[in-house]
Assembly symmetry: D2
Homo-oligomer: 306 residues x 4
């Protein structure tokens, strides 16, 4: 079975890699525009602990929005179901995202993975933790098993210098009363959080607990409850890929989350997690080759949750 998965993944990797290199680097964050666009790696970790990878799977990249799943996990663990008073669980559905919908829903973001929702999650963490920035980093170090993991100042500063739209979002939500701390403080944490870097291997390990009913793969330690784990997976399926969430569910059929750094992590509950990285993005902001690879994997493994 392992070798089977490995064959399928290798074939998918080779097929995707041979495709004309479509897509564009994210340019709105200056630091991301400097990445080598030809990078391509994938790593799969099974719930039995076995794992394998290929290509640039041991090279670090900026995981960007993928980190929003981890901040959600921590906030959900701390606050419980009350969390959903401040963020909804519905797909945003349209490019009229954030601002129109925030207005319609009076400052309640549609879900925790759109920028507005992730900003509210940051605000919640700041309110509940002694030092959100330090404590969140500790949480991710523990999940990933990388004891010296840090925020990338270079990337965070690059975003802070140009992230006017996120400043707009945070202040707009604040005007509805759904941000409790000072916008500048919330945004600093938000930009830090999105600056984390990992390799495909580390990323697939880090997300193992969500394929394993909320428990760490290495030692079975409980991170979050089984029910919370399921619900986070449901959210990744319905809301993990911006405007393309339906398309990903339709073609790949797995819960997952993408980032503008070109990373995608997806998982098949009780089976495996898979992390892929290729920096060129399709028009919806998701990794072009990464999407192709995952589509190939689930088509040929005949394994999807549907």
């Amino acid at each position: 079975m392992n070798s089977n998965y490995q064959n399928i993944t290798e074939n998918a990797y080779n097929l995707s890699n041979s495709l004309d290199s479509k897509g564009k680097l994210a340019t709105y964050i200056p630091e991301l525009a400097n990445v080598d666009p030809s990078k391509f790696g994938v790593h799969m970790t099974k719930v039995d602990g076995t794992h394998f990878g290929m290509g640039d799977h041991l090279e670090k990249f900026s995981i960007q929005s993928i980190t929003k799943v981890l901040s959600l996990a921590l906030a959900y663990k701390i606050v419980g179901e009350k969390l959903w008073d401040r963020v909804d669980v519905e797909p945003s559905g349209t490019k009229f995202d954030s601002l129109l919908l925030l207005e319609s829903y009076k400052g309640i973001p549609r879900n925790p993975f759109v920028n507005s929702g992730a900003i509210v999650i940051c605000d919640i963490l700041i309110s509940h933790l002694d030092n959100a920035s330090v404590d969140f980093l500790e949480f991710v170090r523990d999940l990933s098993g990388i004891p010296d993991l840090t925020y990338s100042d270079q990337i965070a500063d690059s975003e802070k210098a140009t992230g006017y739209r996120n400043v707009a979002l945070c202040n707009f939500i604040k005007s509805f009363g759904n941000i409790q701390n000072e916008p500048n403080v919330v945004l600093d944490f938000y930009f830090d959080m999105c600056s984390i870097e990992m390799t495909c291997q580390q990323l697939s390990h880090t997300f193992g607990f969500l394929a394993n009913g909320g428990r760490q793969l290495v030692d079975g330690r409980k991170i979050i409850s089984k029910s919370k784990s399921k619900r986070i997976n449901a959210l990744m399926l319905t809301c993990g890929f911006y405007d393309e969430s339906g398309e990903f569910a339709f073609k790949v059929g797995l819960p997952g989350k993408s980032g503008v750094g070109g990373g995608i992590v997806a998982l098949y509950p009780h089976n495996y997690t898979i992390a892929v990285w290729s920096p060129k993005l399709n028009p919806n902001g998701n990794s072009f080759k990464g999407m192709k690879l995952l589509e190939e994997v689930t088509t040929h493994s005949e394994l999807s949750i549907f």
Copy 2:
């Protein structure tokens, strides 16, 4: 295992039935306003063919929008992947549904389960079948094993007399060129299609092929391909419950489809289908008790796709 499912379903039925009878009957279709609001039934059909039910599970009700899954299945079978040139696969995400989004996306409905999408599916069936109304009925007779199934003229006429919003939708899409036949013809078929009545037992049997990789439960006959079956399931998960699709995925974790008649069908691939009926609707237009029952079933069976 069967008795286990049966126990869980009975407990869920009893618990949901004891709840204060919240919600309201659909009133915008006059015929639906006459239904006895205390009706409550559920029926589960497993892929091994065993099945059981309780309450009013042998009483017919108007399945309404649930039929959209069946018209999609027929159109998808006929047209294949080209279908998606005319309908998208994304959640509509907001109450600004149909008209604003149709305008933004130039007459391409967001998915085949919003009214606008189902109307385009009707148009496609009319263009590809000799007599769409007759041929679709034959298709559903075959799936359901009910040889004398008919449209309910009473319900269809009731909708035709008051369905101004659907007339608006159809003509609006026509103005963008994404309806090929005459709006009146398309709408007649659409209203007929939504007027089908079934019992919970019949409904759970009818949807068996989607829990069974595209094949009929009774004889293994292939209705649609395994890949198409998966994709329809993915669409039910992301788009099956209007504004509440995210919430249903989050709380129940199964592909499903609701109708304003108070019916819901859901399915756990390779395991079972379940149909529930209770006419009072929550503010989002989904059966109040039906949602509760399904939430109970998946919570206690610890079985969801996530």
Copy 3:
């Protein structure tokens, strides 16, 4: 003074006529696409009864939406201020016109000059007149002094055959309860109403009462009250040119109304009316040369209401 106006208008006509012939014929109504695009005429009628014209000012063209001012005048005369319970008096402001705004404002059109508003005015006339189609024609015959004025069946039929968007609008408003008669009946009248043809000379005469405190120029007979006349003028200023209403007020500074047939009528209260016709439209659907001519006239006459 008369010769002064005449000089200014002639200069404006010549200057506008020498411009590169930009713009496009309206094509969505098939009959309008057959008009000779080089036509260009203007006619001014002063409140003292003197008048003059140039170019194709004695040739009939389809006045289209310009007629909405006349149907408003008749409905306002009959219903009085209660009219504004069913139509608002605000600019629509954006290309997200009709449908989104109708939804936000629960079926109350933003003003009587957007299509949705004019359709509601038609519904009101049908409810209050024995035979709206005949009675409205009689009203316009009286205003224009053209005893044999008729609707153009060719143009009305051309619109009826392709006016899906207006069918959508009317049914959408009906679904909110703001249309009392059958949509088909309302739309038949609406399309008839828009099919009227006049020459620039006739059009400038017809609108004379609005420059004259509500009284006919020829005999001083009262059509509507002074207050109603002022208010209709205010509406033309704020809402007469779709997305370009602000621009027209800004550059021309007169109340006016345009039609997709390439006609524009404008008026300077207590001074004159002016009708201009040139079929090529700018991207906002207003006559390209007509706008230029009027801008020239008010710039050089130094006469605007501001």
Copy 4:
């Protein structure tokens, strides 16, 4: 004639003052919530220099958004017609104001009187003046003839502390590239600008140049050209009262501008300016009694621009 105007204004003042005191104080700016809600004053200044007032017309109040007409006048004087590359001249038309429309029009505000437009005007002034804050104050001192006019730190600080929505707007426009300076710098100037206080008498004097073809009443000195003066008046008519601009044009028929401090200034070109103040606002954010008074004045004077 003067006594006639005075009689009409007195009658309108008494009638409006006797009305049940509807409306609410603006509360979103803390300082404004402390104003005595029973204040009511009016002052009219004719272009011949005569003037009169009644009630609290010699008491200072926060003119708020009314100042946007003055900042527009200064920016228009400096930049000329190029100004309109960065701000449009169309009514915003809907409560979906600022953010949705800014998105649709890629950061170009609909007009200079919505907050987003006034913020862009501030940005333009900062780019073109040595010290925008000082130079603008000097410009208003000159217009008003109040040599010691200053910004109110108390009000500006009060807005700065709570103006999250304006921070959102400014950063959102910056993200489209239509703000050149740092958002904080632009907003500081914006909040200062809105903090100016005047009496009704001073306000009606200050706006005299717009009723006088761009020239100061006292000495005929040219402030802006006649054409610019007309165009600013046109903008006040179409865009001066937020969602209620159409209603004001319809009922009052004069160019004007309101502020949330409860002030309104209106003017009849070549005749008079009138400033009124009553702090309680109607649901659209305009002074309840101020609107009534102006409606009475134009109804009984039979003088409107229409």
